[in-house]
């Protein structure tokens, strides 16, 4: 697998204020790589530096330290953009154009012509489910439709890398589900997808790897599986007459009563054997052991709060 995106110690400091100049460090020493075919999500609270990182990748702003590579080459080479599809955070297409006209011009910008361009537009309008709206003027589109047009323009050149900055912001639940389905389909087509989002439930369903940014720093990068595995909860339901054993367990773990049974909740799988041994040693009857997966929100909150 080759690296499609690479950040090496990249950082950005903005100078703000006209009279009193002060420095704001938006991104600090971020190193990250994205491999071909993966869906990577960058999450973090507002102002964490996610958009700044993407904008440096696309050479809209220059880093104050470090560098970014696209397809193993310096990111400021214009020809590299032939292999990229980009959906900006503030997607504002020309309001007077129809969907077809907009896609036609943007297709020409990507080097498509004639029948190749026509067939590509038709295929993409079908893909984003807008074939019946092709003559609709951009200013009349709903937010959900505009997002789908934005995705279609990003896919015009059949890019290897798709960069999406807050794509589901402002979409209704149905729009989000549709958008998520489209992204899943793109993933199966082998596209590398780099998403910047703060909608954790969305991220959880579409990404393989997640990066968490906080105050301009990339505090954690891991596969979604690993991140969620850390938040696994085990619940042992048991019957036990030994109040001493229950009192002892209470000092280390959460214990509560439910439906006439005692429940001990563990957040670490490694202590399961030890707890079971204690319980059986005290004559407890184990009724049930449940396992529940953690959610990204919990991991995200614990990292952000720490």
């Amino acid at each position: 697998m080759s690296n499609i995106v690479e950040f090496q110690g990249i950082g950005k400091t903005f100078a703000k204020g006209f009279i009193r100049r002060r420095s704001i460090r938006a991104v600090n020493n971020v190193s990250l790589t994205l491999e071909e075919g993966e869906t990577f999500c960058l999450i973090g609270p507002n102002g964490a530096g996610k958009t700044t990182l993407l904008r440096m990748l696309l050479d809209f702003i220059q880093p104050t330290s470090g560098y970014a590579l696209l397809f193993g080459q310096p990111n400021n080479l214009p020809d590299l953009r032939e292999r990229i599809g980009y959906f900006p955070e503030r997607f504002k297409p020309p309001p007077a154009l129809t969907i077809y006209q907009f896609l036609y011009h943007w297709g020409r910008f990507s080097g498509l012509r004639g029948t190749q361009l026509q067939s590509r537009i038709t295929a993409l309008l079908q893909f984003v489910r807008l074939e019946e709206k092709r003559e609709a003027v951009m200013r009349t589109l709903s937010k959900g439709m505009a997002v789908r047009v934005g995705l279609a323009q990003a896919l015009l050149n059949d890019p290897r890398l798709l960069i999406l900055d807050e794509p589901t912001d402002g979409l209704d639940p149905l729009g989000r589900i549709e958008f998520r389905d489209i992204l899943k389909e793109l993933h199966t087509q082998g596209k590398t997808i780099f998403i910047n989002s703060h909608l954790l439930s969305e991220v959880e369903q579409i990404s393989q790897r997640v990066g968490i940014m906080k105050n301009g720093e990339l505090v954690r990068v891991d596969t979604l599986e690993h991140l969620l595995a850390e938040k696994v909860k085990l619940r042992i339901c048991f019957q036990c007459d030994s109040s001493e054993t229950i009192a002892e367990l209470k000092t280390h773990y959460t214990i509560y009563e439910k439906d006439g049974l005692m429940v001990v909740q563990l957040s670490d799988r490694n202590v399961l054997d030890e707890v079971l041994k204690k319980l059986t040693g005290a004559g407890a009857i184990i009724k049930n052991i449940e396992e529940s997966k953690g959610v990204l929100e919990e991991e995200f909150l614990s990292i952000i709060k720490n």
Binding site: R55, L58, D59, F60, I61, Q62, P78, D79, L80, R81, E82, I84, G85, Y86, P88, R90, F91, K92, P93, P94, A96, H105, W106, R108, F109, S110, G111, Q153
Partner: protein, 248 residues
């Protein structure tokens, strides 16, 4: 080829935005010019009034071009395609100049025909006015793009260049009478005003030069050369600055 694609898109956008307004206002101005009295096409005073009115309209219509592109974030969409920032500036400049030039020439041709049929006299006045407008606008638009990149505010850019058109250009033209006596032996002040005069569009001098050329009298091309050179310098500076600028 890539530049041409961007140029044709910008031209279309420019044309859509300008077409209706240009035709309404230019027709109004030039019809007043044409139909008030029969001697008017040769009147220098009306000539000057029309020139600055049309140029003022062009400034209002084009001042926001590059600023709106960056303000409305469409620049990010364009730069996510394989274009350089230099392509964006050049395409924007060329489309602005060609669309306004084509419309101006077309209108001057129509007015020449109308006047010719009406007065049985084939006057070159309208063609002269079109050439003066085009030469001045090429230079003015370069400076509008440059100031748009620097100031990022449509209102300030518009007011500044209309101010230059009505006051600044006349003031610089009259610098020998207004500034030189005050400056005395101060070479530095004289040099500043001379520099500004030769760098910025010499609107009224260009007007005189073109009129002289078309009326077969002695003419001096210096003002046209300086005005176009200043425009090129402003355009190159715009490209350089926009290349270094960070998109907000």
């Amino acid at each position: 080829m890539k530049l041409f694609r961007l140029y044709s898109y910008f031209s279309l956008q420019f044309f859509r935005g300008l077409l209706a307004r240009v035709f309404i206002i230019l027709t109004m101005i030039l019809c007043v010019y044409l139909f008030t009295t029969q001697t008017l096409p040769h009147s220098t005073v009306v000539h000057q009034i029309c020139l600055i009115l049309v140029l003022a309209f062009y400034i209002v219509a084009t001042a926001g071009s590059i600023i709106e592109k960056t303000e409305q974030y469409s620049i990010e969409l364009i730069l996510s395609k394989p274009f350089t920032r230099r392509d964006v500036i050049l395409a924007d400049f060329l489309s602005g100049v060609t669309v306004t030039s084509a419309l101006t020439l077309l209108l001057s041709l129509v007015l020449t025909l109308v006047y010719g049929i009406r007065a049985h006299e084939w006057s070159t006045t309208f063609l002269a006015l079109a050439i003066i407008l085009i030469v001045n606008f090429i230079s003015l638009y370069s400076f509008i793009v440059l100031s748009g990149i620097l100031l990022k505010n449509v209102a300030i850019v518009t007011v500044f260049w209309i101010g230059y058109l009505y006051v600044g250009a006349l003031f610089l033209e009259a610098r020998t009478e207004l500034i030189y006596p005050q400056a005395g032996a101060n070479f530095f002040i004289k040099a500043i005003f001379d520099g500004l005069y030769y760098l910025l569009p010499q609107i009224y001098a260009v007007s005189r030069a073109v009129t002289a050329l078309l009326s077969n009298t002695i003419w001096n091309p210096q003002s046209i050369i300086f005005t176009l050179s200043g425009g090129i310098a402003a355009l190159v500076s715009s490209m350089y600055l926009f290349n270094r600028q960070e998109l907000e």
